[in-house]
Symmetry: C2
Subunit: 253 residues, 2 copies
Amino acid sequence: MAGYSVGQVAAFAGVTVRTLHHYDEIGLLSPSERTAAGYRRYAEPDLDRLQQVLFYRELGFPLEEITAILDDPGVDAATHLRRQHELLRRRIARLEALVVSVETAMEAARMGVSLTPEERYEVFGEFRPEDHAEEAESRWGGTSAWVESRRRTSSYSKADWEAIKAEAGGLVEAWHALFVRGAPAGSAEVTAVAERHREHIGRWFYECTYEIHVGLGEMYVADERFARNYEGVAEGLAAYIRDSIAANAAAAR
Amino acid sequence: MAGYSVGQVAAFAGVTVRTLHHYDEIGLLSPSERTAAGYRRYAEPDLDRLQQVLFYRELGFPLEEITAILDDPGVDAATHLRRQHELLRRRIARLEALVVSVETAMEAARMGVSLTPEERYEVFGEFRPEDHAEEAESRWGGTSAWVESRRRTSSYSKADWEAIKAEAGGLVEAWHALFVRGAPAGSAEVTAVAERHREHIGRWFYECTYEIHVGLGEMYVADERFARNYEGVAEGLAAYIRDSIAANAAAAR
DNA sequence: CCTGCGGCCTCCCGTAACGTGAGAGTCAAG
DNA sequence: CTTGACTCTCACGTTACGGGAGGCCGCAGG
């Protein structure tokens, strides 16, 4: 009558019955009642608690710690919610950092640039001990390793790669020509190059939405590793390319 | 000389040495070389692979599956990155759903509204079997359970709650009065009420940033559970409140 | 009244992804 | 040539459950 059975609770909470049994065993969530036959009966407060448990669990907390947190008499429900809100925002921020990291990796592969381990794992290791900076210098210092098209994976043939490189080079040249001629970055002929660039990426590497494309444009300017590639051709070219990409994306909406 | 030791790799990848040993044991990531003494030496391609592993792991994939995915010869690195990008975006979307869920719970507690289990766990159970709809109806149908101030947690005294309810009621009344008088939602006297509302929440429940406040405003209109509370007072009041909150937030920037 | 049959119970063993030493070899530095 | 930091290979411990086995409950149908 009153309350819910394990099966019901398991159903709408999206967990298994076994999980609820487990939570009962370890004292994390014991139903406030049992029927005469020994069946578990979950009441409203139990559901409240389960929800809290699931939130913290989703955030990666060990169950023992969750028990401690929830049994702390000094903390009320509002505080928990506030804390969870904060934790979620942080986790989202972290994942967004991972997205950026993936995009960087995609671009690095695309441009045949190889990253140092430090760069590569930037987002995974939390502490930055600085003492690797010199090694990074010695690897990237004066060498032209940047330009060296040392790709490592994928299944394109050598001929494919020649074609791709030629195509990409053609795009940069087109941008450069318009740049020196003084054509505004937002003008139709320049955004047309940006659009071809976007399609080029889509054709050979990964589906490049306008959103991603704009992100890449930003990166070409902000990330020194890529900026150098364009600034080496002409000063201000990276920003010019970025602006044309942004204008192209804006026009497409 | 060439390559990196377990300790080095573990350091900048943010994992323990034991983890790398484990990955070696199960054949997920075996260093491509060993020294004469039997020390593991990780080369560049190993680092590539480790990065992929960590991405998929972060996304919750079991190691065995990661092994299968990465050993699939039909998939190249670019595809992996694209897939990871997609997976990350989904995970972010899910967490954002959780944020909304937490905010809903905060508001439900604040307004003394109790949610059905289905509502409560909406975000956890992925499949919606529909057959619970009638039960929800019978619980929420004609009753005035909405208004019933049946709070369950927190440590406020009864007197506190009287005060809080009175204060909240006063705010709604103030909005209502301005609404019937025809004061524009963006005018100073109306946004002043919104600001008092925001401070009210902050004082009694949780830190309410302008961002959250705007979100709540949207919810008061979009979420029927809350909309009814305001629409019951006057038709269009919910939207009016939302607009005044938005205007207040905009003015604060 | 019996008989399924689905849900629930309590053991209890299995698994994944490591943690945590134990005991011993390795290596650059002093 | 010793010492301390690093590494190796067992090997058992832990967390958070999964997945039965064997046995009650409770209600619909013959």
